[in-house]
Amino acid sequence: MSARVTLATAQRVLWQIRHDPRTIALLLAVPALLLVLLRYVFDGREAVFQSIGAPLCGLFPFIVMFLVTSITMLRERTTGTLERLMTLPLAKLDLLGGYAIAFGLLAAAQAVVVCIVGFVFLGLDAPHGAWLVAVLAVFNALLGMALGLFVSAFAQTEFQAVQFMPALIFPQLLLCGLFVARDDMASVLYAISWALPLTYAYDALARATSLAPLGARLVLDVLVVVGCTLGALALGALTLRRRTA
């Protein structure tokens, strides 16, 4: 692995995105606009908006980076650039690391915008500081990126790749406790929710946006998210083959 090649790859991904200003605008504006929408859907019910809207600020980057990364990697496979890179002195970790840096930066920008809108303009509360939500958002984005990289290996077309979003992300959103407390779910679902990484991502955000003390559980949550990210990246590295049929 080489820092030069990793950084070159990160810069290349950012160059690609820079040539697509509409994607940048959508990335930055859509989560913020959805949050505004949510604010007026729960008009006058501030407690509900707080309990859903505040953690959501840190979950948007997870969802978006999952999608963006799986499509980017799929394009890398289908246009032959991945095969070219595999014939060059580039380690798989250079590629994965470059992606992580580029999409991590993008996620940070997205998180800052949505946190400013949520915590400054829409009156959401972050008793432990909005910066903590933004930092958690970047961790979650990297988790989404890692999962997106991994599942892109199982998609042959963009149509298939976008279907992985509802297939893998929606169930996690439903079971993580964002909409319904996990204790209130059917016991089977409650048990399953322990095995899903988004449960821990949400738990950290829920703690960061409530008055409850952060405690050791927050550290555990972050460790689980980071662990799942590294696990998914390792699995993703296995799907990057130097030799193919």
Binding site: R4, V5, A8, T9, Q11, R12, W15, Q16, H19, D20, T79, G80, T81, E83, R84, L85, M86, T87, L88, P89, L90, R242, R243, T244, A245
Partner: protein
């Protein structure tokens, strides 16, 4: 020998597409790999570059087993479909690949000039014509001054002037010691090569030279000569 292939067999999608191919590519030669589309040229090239899962046989490239990590700095590979980033400019594509192989910006400028793309540097690669994109892909492969260049149909869709210029460049690269393996399905390009590998249906029909091919078949026209080789192979079967 730059490339030595022994009894190479490749299975793709349950079908054997290379049936025990053996050949050698001499150091510093321009070797043409000729045959109709679908005869296994690309699969053979992929095996030499080391990206193809092979069923049997050995492929030795620059003295090492194909696919060895240290070969990645020494081989340049250009696929038939240009494998460059359409959403980057020509210059950004080249700068990225230059940093991956570890060469500087002066080398980028040099390579762009040698493939005649100097006026296109700020153009988005997806906005280029097919032939221009193919040259971006070729330029990217030249960056690291590879000892072996494996080019899959590099002149397809180019006008005759450009085609002549590229062949001139290939010869000058060979003159400087680079080994080139170039596939084509157009027999008139065979005349440009030092050595010829004639393929059909996943098998090597003959390893020869343009002159030897003309002599052995009594045909001046290389297309007709190739046809004669195919007919002879059918008869002897």
């Amino acid at each position: 020998m730059a490339v030595q292939v022994e009894d190479l067999r490749v299975v793709r999608g349950g079908n054997e597409v290379l049936h025990g191919v053996s050949l050698a590519v001499a150091d510093g030669s321009v070797t043409g790999l000729l045959g109709p589309s679908g005869c296994g040229k690309s699969t053979l090239m992929r095996s030499i570059v080391g990206v193809q899962i092979v069923e049997g046989g050995t492929v030795t490239v620059l003295g090492l087993p194909a696919g060895s990590a240290s070969l990645r700095r020494r081989i340049g590979y250009v696929t038939q479909a240009p494998s460059v980033y359409g959403d980057l400019t020509v210059l950004e594509n080249l700068r990225y690949f230059a940093r991956v192989v570890g060469v500087g910006r002066d080398r980028v400028a040099e390579v762009l000039d040698s493939v005649g793309l100097s006026q296109f540097t700020s153009r988005l690669t997806s906005s280029l014509s097919g032939g221009e994109r193919a040259r971006v892909s070729l330029a990217s492969a030249l960056l690291g001054r590879p000892q072996l260049l494996v080019l899959d149909e590099p002149t397809v869709g180019l006008d005759p002037v450009l085609r002549t210029e590229l062949w001139r460049m290939f010869h000058s690269l060979a003159h400087d010691g680079t080994t080139l393996l170039i596939s084509s399905h157009v027999m008139d390009e065979a005349a440009e090569c030092d050595d010829l590998l004639l393929m059909r249906d996943g098998a090597l029909l003959e390893q020869t030279t343009p002159d030897a091919l003309r002599r052995s078949t009594g045909q001046d026209d290389l297309s007709k000569a190739f046809l004669a080789v195919i007919e002879a192979a059918e008869r002897s079967r």
